[in-house]
């Protein structure tokens, strides 16, 4: 008897305070899933139960057991969205496609015991040399951060191709220059088109009083929120160019998100971009619940995994 088996290891990430990974011990891992929380959320509570349901429901969702999960933490309150997108890109560059070798925070100097070398040996085996697939998952404003990050890398890739004299590039050239553009983009109730302020205040007032009070109180310094609620052209620009490029390069996956909404959505403006996947809804959950799986509500687990699973089956 070898005792209970835990399937994903929880490990902090060096240089990214508050972010962590749940790494599968399986060899030959090819897929990284990166989660980006929303306004006022964090890397743990926004995705609560994802952390263990991927293991406790492994028989029903075996795809997760061969994936590494990364939970990104950023200042979703006082940072502007373009700055958050930039920080996110610095984070993702440490992971995909080639994870930084010293990414795992394993420094244990000054501790007694012989277990250290054994633990190091184990850690060393946890990161693959390279990931082939990336799934980007965002909730609420985290979705906008991802859209903006994708748009940024797309522009950079386009510029690189032009600099190289490639003026009529095709989809595959884009992805070759910028592998992030081949990622699967899964958004839970994204704030793509802005925030419904009255709705936000109303819905939180009825459910979480503290949330209302906090949001009101913090509003004067909510950089992220002001990006979404004022007349700044950020959202319009991201939408316009994403749609335009998506039409020209339909195989660039990251430009076409799959979006899952709660039917009772009252916090964000509920619509998606022109070339995004078919509209998907789930009933009886709120804006904050739509991304949290439970043993009874498994849609978030299915939503994140189904596209990659289908692709794997097809290949």
């Amino acid at each position: 008897m070898d005792g209970p088996t835990l399937k994903h290891d929880w490990i902090d990430l060096d240089g990214h305070r508050g972010s962590y990974a749940l790494l599968s011990p399986k060899p030959h891992k090819e897929t990284a899933i990166v989660f980006v929380h929303g306004y006022g959320g964090d890397s743990i509570k926004t995705w609560l139960e994802f952390q263990f349901l991927i293991d406790s429901l492994a028989d029903e969702y075996p795809w997760y057991s061969g994936c590494d999960l990364f939970f990104y933490k950023y200042d979703g309150i006082s940072s502007h969205i373009p700055a958050s997108a930039d920080s996110f890109l610095a984070f993702i560059r440490d992971i995909f496609p080639i994870p930084r070798r010293d990414l795992l925070d394993t420094d244990v100097q000054d501790f007694p015991g012989d277990f250290q070398s054994a633990a190091y040996e184990y850690y060393r085996t946890l990161l693959p040399n390279q990931y082939k697939h990336l799934v980007l998952v965002g909730h609420s404003i985290g979705g906008v951060v991802l859209r903006m990050a994708i748009w940024t890398v797309l522009r950079n890739a386009h510029q690189i191709l032009i600099d190289e004299g490639v003026h009529n590039c095709d989809d595959s050239e884009f992805i070759k220059v910028e592998p992030l553009l081949g990622s699967d983009l899964c958004l839970f109730a994204p704030a793509n088109l802005g925030v419904n302020f009255t709705g936000l205040l109303g819905v939180i007032a009825n459910t979480r009083m503290i949330g209302t009070l906090l949001i009101n109180w913090l509003r004067p310094v909510q950089a992220a929120y002001s990006d979404l609620s004022s007349d700044l052209p950020i959202l319009d620009d991201v939408r316009k160019y994403t749609e335009e490029y998506s039409e020209r390069f339909p195989s660039v996956l990251a430009l076409r998100a799959r979006v899952l909404w709660a039917t009772t959505e009252k916090v964000v403006v509920m619509w998606q971009y022109k070339w995004d996947g078919p509209v998907e809804y789930c009933k009886d959950v709120t804006h904050t619940e739509v991304c949290k799986p439970t043993p009874e509500f498994r849609r978030p687990l299915e939503f994140v995994s189904y596209a990659q699973q289908r692709r794997a089956q097809a290949s």
Partner: protein
């Protein structure tokens, strides 16, 4: 290396980095500082790391061999923290639940072995809960390392009435204005336990505590509904985990509950004032009592799962 053993080694490393090391650093810093509040908080954190070690070994989340070796090498450090509380007659001891205190006494006074206490109820199928245990350990770790949460816990639990009054935002009968900007900055910032305990950090810790209680409650409400987990084990996991960290938000001791509600009252008044000044469009009339009522409800739910002293093996 066998992968399961590797898992356990990695978990143990995580425990050392996330719980043990920060707690040890806090004790060393508190010893230099010489403040009673800070020392109590630091020794409490250090003992908490002992209980996580104990529970992690029992759950087989940590490797037995490394855990026992580690225990033998650090026993004296833990004993020092045990003695810190054992020698004090004031209420700090009651911050810890009876079962934990009995376990400590059994470990340190009766024998030098780690597993000598016979009063714990055991899991029917601990292996089915190992992933859930890791998640709750993650949540607890997040809270325990939060600087504002530590300060809040320290002042509501360990501060003397005189020290508490020094921190209170009232001056005589007149309310002194809270700087919400300073509270906001404290909430966004993070870091090690600071030398100076400012009121803005206490209020920031208050919000962090509310958030923690809600997350904790959500997690265990869901776990109890999980058909793949034995209901008795779900309750037991909640009880065992909560008794380990409960001292941080133990509303049964001293004035902790009154102090916490006092913070709610003051912040509620300040927040409502802010809402009115800025003329936010609300669908209801804001009232400072709303926050206090909300917090009272949360405390009731939180305290309803107050750990019990268990007397029989399951």
């Amino acid at each position: 290396m066998h992968s399961n053993e590797g898992h356990k080694q990695a978990n143990f490393l995580k425990f050392l980095r996330s719980y043990f090391a920060p707690a040890k650093r806090a004790v060393e810093a508190a010893n230099k500082l010489g403040s009673k509040d800070t020392s109590s908080q630091a020794h409490g954190s250090f003992l908490e790391s002992f209980w996580w070690l104990y529970l992690g070994l029992e759950m087989e989340y940590f490797p037995a061999s490394a855990g026992i070796l580690f225990w033998s090498e650090t026993r004296k450090d833990f004993l020092r923290s045990f003695n810190y509380f054992a020698k004090r007659k004031y209420r700090t001891v009651s911050a810890f639940t009876d079962s934990l205190w009995l376990r400590l006494q059994s470990t340190f006074k009766v024998s030098n072995n780690l597993f000598t206490f016979d009063g714990d109820m055991h899991f029917l199928d601990g292996s089915a809960l190992i992933s859930q245990f890791q998640t709750i350990f993650m949540i607890e770790c997040h809270f325990a390392r939060d600087c504002n949460a530590q300060i809040l816990s320290s002042v509501i639990t360990f501060s003397s009435p005189r020290e508490w009054n020094k921190l209170r935002i009232r001056k005589g009968r007149k309310r002194r204005q809270i700087s919400l900007t300073a509270v906001r900055d404290a909430l966004i910032a993070n870091g090690e336990f600071p030398n100076r305990i400012g009121e803005e950090r206490v209020y920031a810790g208050f919000f962090r505590a509310l958030e923690h209680m809600m997350t904790y409650q959500y997690f265990f409400d869901s776990l109890r509904r999980n058909p793949t987990v034995q209901e008795r084990d779900a309750y037991l996991l909640e009880r065992r985990c909560k008794e380990v960290s409960n001292w941080r938000l133990n509303f049964y001791i001293g004035d902790a509950k009154e102090r916490f509600l006092e913070l709610a009252e003051d912040l509620g008044a300040e927040l409502v004032k802010e809402v009115k000044v800025q003329k936010f469009p609300l669908e209801y009339e804001p009232n400072s009592r709303d926050l206090t009522k909300y917090v009272e409800g949360l405390i009731d739910r939180w305290s309803n799962t107050q750990p019990l002293v268990l007397s029989a093996r399951g």
